[in-house]
Amino acid sequence: MNSSLETAKLEPVWNTNKKVVFSVVGLLIGLLLFPLVDPNTFYLHLMIMIFMHAVMAQSWNVIAGFSGQISLGHGAFFGIGAYTSSFFFVEYELTPWIGILIGILFSGIIAAFIGAVVLRLSGHYFAIATLLIAISFQVVFQRWELVGAASGIWIPLTEGSSWIKLQFHDGKTEYYYIFLILFVFIYFLTWMLSRSKIGFRLRAVRDDPQAASSLGINVSKYKIIAYVISAIIMAPIGSLFAQYILIIDPDRMFNIEISIIVLLITVLGGIGNVWGPLLGTAILIPISEYSRIYFGGTGGAVDLMIYGVILMLICIFRPAGLISLLPLHILEREKQR
C-alpha cells in the first residue's frame, strides 16, 4: 500500500464493490417483477412476511447494532403503530395513510420520553427495563377500554379493495408492493444513516461511551436519537401489518415473540451491519412460515425452540453473525485483516 498522504486522500471514502451494487440492483428488479411472474398468494404472503420482518429487524439493529443498547422489548413500538392507525381509522374514519404518520409521530414522542428516562441505564439495567416496558404496554392495552381492551380493535372490512382505506381483498399484490416500498425505503435510510456523521458517532457511543464523550459526543443525546429512529421505523410496519390482518389485539401486537424474533434475526444475520437483518430474515422467515404449515398446532413452540437454540449457538460460535462469513462482509469499507 502506498503510504503517501496524497495518495491516501485520493482514495474514495467508501469502498463500492461492483458485485454488491449489481446484486442489489438485480435483487430489486427481481422483487419488483416477482408478483407478475408468480402471483401465487402463498409466496406473496411469504415475501410480505420477509419484508415486514426485515424492516422490524433493521429497527432493532439501529438501537442495538448501531448504538449498542440491547432492547429486549422492542415489540412495543410495533404495537403502538398498529393501534394508532387502526384507532384513528375506526373512530374517526381517518385514512390509514395518515394514521401511519400519526403512529410514527406517537412512537417517536414515546420513544423520546422512555429513552430520556431509561437510556442512561447501563447494559443489563436497560435490557431489564425494556422487558418491563414491553410487558407494561401489554398489561395496559389489555385493560384500556378506549382501544378495545383484551378484544382489541377490529377493522371493518371494505368491499373489494380500497387504496384510501388501505385494504385489498382481491389478492395480495397491492400489499406486496406497499410492503416492498417501505422495505426499500427503510433500508435505504439506514444505509445512509450508517454512512453519515451520526452513524459514525453512534458507533463510537456503542464501542466506548467514555471515549466518545471525550470527543465531543453527547452520549445521552445520541442514544436517544438512535432509539427514536428505531421506534419510528417500527411504527409504520406495525400500522401496515394491522391493515394486512385487520384484527389488532394486545396479544398479537405486544407479543414477546415479536421482540424475540427481531433480536434473533439481527444477531443471526449480523448485528451492526446494514445487511445483517436482511440476511437473517431471508434465512429465518421461510423456515418459520414452512414450519407453521408442517407442524400445525404446536408449530409455534417448535419455532421458538429452534430460535432459542440458534440464538445460543450464534452467541457461542459466531457472535458477529452470519454476514461475517461472507468475503464481502464489510460492504461499506475495505478493511485489512
Binding site: S4, V13, D208, A211, S214, G216, I217, N218, K335, Q336
Partner: protein, 240 residues
C-alpha cells in the same frame, strides 16, 4: 494568558482524599508535566478537569470560563482534548475510523473529516496502518491512535495520561518527538508521566503531587532540587 486555572480542587472517594486543595495555572502554549507516585491523584485530577467527575470543592477555569459541572462532551467542544491511562480505542473499528470520529467534533462533511483525519494520522506517522483494526495495533501504535483521535478534535488544551506507559524503550524517543512537534502547533499540553527524564526534557513547568496534595510547582530545575519531591520519590525514580 493562563489557558487553565485550577483553584483549590478537592475530591474524596469514600475516605480517600484523591485530591486535596490543589491549585495551579497553565500558561498558554506551554507543557505542564504532572508527576507523582502511584495513587497521588494524577488521573483524578484529569477526570476533574475534563468533567468525568465533579470536584467536592474548588473551581476549574478554562480560558477564564468556569467549567465546573459541565459534561465531558461540552468541555471537549470547548477545546479540551484528552487521552486515557487505560487505552480506549474503538477496537472493532479501523485507525482511520477512530480518528475520523475525532474529526467529526469540528467537521460535518464526511470527505473533509476523512482527509483531516488522514493528515493527523500522517502527523503521528501511522499512515500505512490507517485501514488496520485498532485491536491489531501494538501498544505504542494505540497510544498514537488515541493521541491522533484527541488531536483530531483540534483542541487548544490537550491532557495526555501517560504517553510512554507500557511502551517499549525504542518507541519512546519517537513519542517524545511527537509531543514536541505537537507543542510547536500551538497546543497547550498537560501530561502525566512517570519517566522523570522525559518530564524534565519536555516540560516548561512541573506539578508534583503526593497523596492528593500539591507538593511543588515550578520549572524543571527547581523541581529537581526540591527536597519534598526528592523525598516523595526516594527509591521510585525511573531510570532512562
Amino acid at each position: 494568558m493562563n489557558i487553565l486555572s485550577v483553584k483549590n480542587i478537592s475530591k474524596s472517594f469514600g475516605g480517600i482524599h484523591a485530591n486535596s486543595d490543589i491549585s495551579f495555572d497553565v500558561p498558554q502554549g506551554t507543557i505542564l508535566g504532572v508527576i507523582g507516585p502511584n495513587g497521588a491523584g494524577k488521573s483524578t485530577l484529569f477526570d476533574l478537569i475534563t468533567g468525568y467527575t465533579k470536584p467536592d470543592q474548588g473551581e476549574v477555569y478554562y480560558k477564564e470560563k468556569n467549567i465546573f459541572g459541565l459534561r465531558p462532551d461540552i468541555i471537549s467542544n470547548l477545546g479540551v482534548g484528552r487521552t486515557f491511562q487505560k487505552l480506549k480505542p474503538f477496537a472493532d473499528q479501523t485507525l482511520l475510523e477512530n480518528v475520523m470520529i475525532g474529526s467529526f467534533a469540528k467537521e460535518s462533511n464526511i470527505t473533509k473529516a476523512r482527509n483531516a483525519a488522514l493528515e493527523i494520522i500522517e502527523f503521528v506517522d501511522l499512515i500505512e496502518k490507517r485501514h488496520h483494526f485498532a485491536r491489531e495495533l501494538s501498544t505504542g501504535q494505540r497510544k498514537r491512535l488515541e493521541l491522533a483521535r484527541a488531536m483530531a478534535t483540534k483542541p487548544d488544551l490537550l491532557l495526555m495520561d501517560e504517553v510512554t506507559g507500557g511502551v517499549d524503550q525504542k518507541t519512546i524517543p519517537g513519542l517524545v518527538e511527537l509531543v514536541k512537534k505537537l507543542k510547536k502547533t500551538g497546543v497547550t499540553i498537560i501530561t502525566i508521566e512517570h519517566n522523570i527524564n522525559i518530564i524534565m526534557d519536555i516540560s516548561d513547568n512541573i506539578l508534583a503531587l503526593d497523596q492528593g496534595k500539591k507538593i511543588a510547582y515550578g520549572i524543571p530545575k527547581e523541581i529537581q532540587n526540591n527536597k519534598q519531591v526528592i523525598d516523595a520519590y526516594l527509591g521510585t525514580v525511573d531510570a532512562a
